[in-house]
Symmetry: C2
DNA sequence: GACAATACCGTACGTCGTACGGAGAATCTA
DNA sequence: TAGATTCTCCGTACGACGTACGGTATTGTC
């Protein structure tokens, strides 16, 4: 059955494929404010569609997000959505920017480290709430919407005026967000594969552990055997997302601190 | 058209959904060595299928990897593949482990930092060669094949015997690989969106830059405006993957060095 | 030569995004 | 008020996808 795969796969998504002007107008909601003339009045809004689509993606993943299912939720025909949104790709871009808007634009209190840590945690929480955001390609050619730009500004202000060059500021903010994305992706994987396979980590490990022992020769890989056993014991799984995030964030911030100290 | 989206989306993939025993037998190639009796002799091999599928995924992305297209490349009917591989999911797992085998299992020379840096660069190169690996969920419940385990062992040996606990060793190796994955994903995005949209970074930037200026108010986000302009100027794009990787890797290793020094 | 096991694969089902074009409603113009 | 215009809504259809099912052809064993 196709849905056997559907429950296992998500769509990856590149931004901004359609008409750039239309795309930007949608993101900044600067479209058709004068045009409100003839014809029946709209029964939907872009925001309503975005909200319904976000609900669906939150609950079932980007793979389950189909135009048909969004339309069903809104009680309209599938093709009606295309009156408001030029394509699924653009819809996802708008969803992304809207989700970025959930994070407060105010900077946290404290020095650069506390602020950077706060924004990292805010992103982590955001990705946990909206795992599908990690599927949206937002690094190389981000959807240039108002909220994602506000987030960039907030992150940058954490490290402004402490002796870094503009390029270094950009790099520092980027390395933190790359790291948080990586860690969040691992966490989402853990949750997602548990949901999709209907197996807890324990069950998975007790299924594969014995099978691995049959083919795995510990004497060939003594370090992996020892450390893997210790980690499996400690986490009752192959990986502990929360612990991994905390450990890695501390390391990354320590590394940035080394740089900043050297600039003083 | 469906292929409009096809060129923009990839499948994300969870490992190990089918029969675990069959899965492991396939990964370790411990299946059907005795069985070679009646019936026509096999015209294909698992390795051949994996090679063809990997070629296809390398060239066109995981989205373009379909059982139909792999079968076409091999000159057989689509369903013939299912004689060798239980499903597309298992095929991708085997592809993943095979690709892991491309990295030499020998550790690099030098101290922990040189070794860790070398494995990070090896992973970076591997992901550049096989971008689709980043789509395979390999952190929470990795495909437990021989080559990915060998890679885990190689990474761990870099930090063995320098005063870290087993759990810390696991965490250190994990944070590096999480970071490298994040950075590689950004790089692959950059290359992929260039390929899929047929636009260079310059073209993209010169298309969206002016549109952004129309709606973006620099006085609301002075820091983002200043730093974004500096970065855009320096990279001629929103992001420079190579530079980002180098900068971030240095930070992460610095952070790990802080930890290791504190253990002495 | 009969039988069993295996490889190969044509067909069919339900999914997807969305192009196309028609139906009906609301407003503007005359 | 009548007609024209313009907009919303959406039914239908196409070609892609993974793969279940069952049939056919090929090979080995007895």
């Amino acid at each position: 059955m196709a849905d056997t795969m559907a429950s296992r796969s998500d769509d990856k998504h590149y931004g901004g494929r359609g008409d750039p002007a239309r795309s930007m107008a949608l993101l900044w909601r600067s479209a058709t404010p004068p045009a409100r003339g003839r014809g029946p009045r709209p029964g939907l809004t872009v925001d309503g569609i975005v909200a319904a689509a976000t609900d669906l993606a939150d609950a079932e993943g980007l793979a389950a997000l189909s135009m048909r299912r969004v339309a069903d939720r809104l009680g309209v025909g599938t093709m009606s959505l295309y009156t408001y949104v030029p394509s699924k790709a653009e819809l996802v871009d708008v969803m992304y920017d809207a989700a970025c808007g959930e994070v407060s634009p105010a900077p946290a209190a404290g020095g650069w480290r506390a602020q950077l840590e706060a924004t990292a945690r805010a992103s982590w929480d955001l990705y946990r709430r909206h795992p599908w955001m990690l599927q949206v390609m937002a690094m190389a050619r981000p959807p240039l919407g108002p909220n994602s730009i506000a987030g960039y500004d907030r992150d940058l202000r954490a490290v402004d005026g402490i002796g870094l060059t503009d390029l270094e500021m950009d790099s520092v903010v980027t390395v933190v967000s790359v790291y948080v994305q990586g860690a969040a992706r691992a966490a989402v994987e853990a949750a997602g594969s548990a949901r999709d396979t209907g197996m807890t980590d324990d069950e998975w490990w007790s299924e594969y552990g014995p099978l691995l022992e049959k083919v795995f020769d510990p004497s060939r890989f003594p370090v992996a055997a020892r450390v893997g056993a210790a980690a499996g014991e400690a986490y009752q799984a192959a990986y502990d997302p929360e612990h991994g995030f905390e450990f890695g964030l501390a390391r990354v911030l320590d590394g940035i601190e080394v740089l900043i100290r050297s600039r003083r």
